[in-house]
């Protein structure tokens, strides 16, 4: 089974605590809602930050997502549903934010200059190079990569979050990975396979 009903990755104890917090915050308990925020703020903020690459914007967006959650608490049925709902709203809001602002011009992955070899000597620099390359991907493909590697979601789960066919998700993943591998292999001189 896929989707929010079967994608819970939380510990059982944490899940029970979140379930109680959901019930209490739906009844108006702000402390319970704060607990929900603390439990999920890392996921929401990271999704927005990795997509937008702007801490301030990501923080703003994450706050708005939680404010939206507070208005829709009555619709949340379970902790797994809460996680799914937060991922979905954050992903769509991040894409909308990029489309609205168009802060960074979209360039083709082929046009991105390859990172210099001395920049990727360390792992940190390699990670940064990867993030910069992913940043240049189209919006949907970028979010697919982020959901796949930050949240460790399967293509079927990603397709539910982003409302797109599974085959499209797989296609995005395949093409994006091939491009990233090609770019990094050429710049590093070694195969990242």
């Amino acid at each position: 089974m896929v989707g929010w009903e079967g994608t819970t990755t939380l510990e059982q104890a944490t899940e029970a605590r979140i379930e109680q917090a959901l019930a209490r915050s739906a009844a108006g308990d702000q402390l319970a809602f704060a607990e929900i925020v603390r439990q999920h703020q890392g996921m929401v903020f990271s999704l927005a930050y990795h997509f937008l690459r702007d801490r301030w914007l990501a923080e703003e967006l994450a706050q708005e997502v939680f404010l939206n959650l507070h208005q829709n608490l009555s619709a949340i049925k379970s902790p797994a549903h809460l996680t799914f709902w937060l991922r979905k709203v954050t992903a769509h809001r991040s894409i909308d934010q990029t489309r609205r602002q168009k802060v960074r011009p979209q360039v083709s992955l082929d046009d991105v200059p390859e990172p210099a070899a001395h920049h990727v000597e360390e792992d940190f620099m390699l990670s940064e190079a990867l993030r910069r390359l992913v940043e240049t991907l189209p919006e949907k493909a970028r979010m697919v990569i982020i959901l796949r590697y930050q949240e460790d979601l399967e293509p079927a789960e990603i397709s539910k979050v982003l409302d797109m066919p599974v085959n499209t998700v797989k296609s995005h993943l395949r093409r994006s990975l091939a491009l990233l591998r090609d770019k990094l292999s050429r710049s590093l001189g070694e195969a990242l396979v």
Binding site: A62, Q63, F66
Partner: protein, 211 residues
């Protein structure tokens, strides 16, 4: 699992927001939950007319000025063009109407209506009088020689009478109105200036609380 997958997982690890993130969310939640009473239609309508005290004074002064102008216009003499026709006809040289001051005092329209009522045929006097107002519409056949001469002789008089000179009273009234209009426009300018000076202080929006 390839090395690229591992690198991507490292690159896209979760990151924590600032420590006070939850507090900010709750603060924004409390801000949003404060009931902001939406102004009713009447309140919005009243706010349109909400003005500083000085604005009310200026509007009052302007209204008073408009009343004075209205009274002055009502008391001023009627347009000079209607009343000055008769004297000009009377003093024009060779005008037979000057021999009849009673007829000369009446307006041409009154004379024409009198003629219609009495049923008298037009004689030279009437023809000449009507020619001053109707010009070439007068019948030249009743007195061929004289009437032709008279009409051709009086043509400049008709042109002169069609553009009556305003009297001194009318000019004075016009000047008064122009002066009052000037004062009104200056007052309006002052009001606008005062309102625009007051507005930024009174209606300065509350700065949005940003983190």
């Amino acid at each position: 699992m390839s090395r690229l997958d591992d690198e991507l997982k490292i690159a896209f690890q979760r990151q924590e927001p600032p420590a006070d993130f939850a507090a900010h969310v709750l603060a924004r939640l409390n801000e949003a939950s404060v009931p902001q009473a939406r102004p009713t239609v009447w309140q919005r309508l009243a706010s349109v007319f909400a003005m500083p005290r000085l604005g009310y004074a200026a509007v009052g002064a302007m209204a008073l000025l408009l009343i004075i102008i209205g009274i002055a216009l009502l008391r001023s003499p009627r347009p000079a063009g209607v009343e000055n026709n008769a004297p000009q006809v009377a003093i024009s040289p060779g005008n037979p109407a000057s021999e009849k001051p009673a007829a000369g005092n009446a307006t041409p329209e009154q004379n024409a209506s009198d003629k219609l009522k009495s049923g008298q045929p037009e004689d030279g006097t009437n023809a000449s009088l009507s020619s001053t107002t109707a010009g070439h519409h007068a019948e030249p056949s009743s007195r061929p020689g004289g009437s032709h001469r008279l009409i051709s002789h009086r043509a400049p008089v008709v042109a002169q009478q069609s553009q009556p000179q305003p009297s001194a009273e009318a000019l004075a009234a016009k000047e008064k109105v122009l002066f009052a209009l000037q004062i009104t426009s200056e007052t309006l300018n002052d009001v606008q200036r005062v309102i625009s000076d007051d507005r930024p202080q009174d209606e300065k929006p509350e700065p949005v609380q940003k983190r």
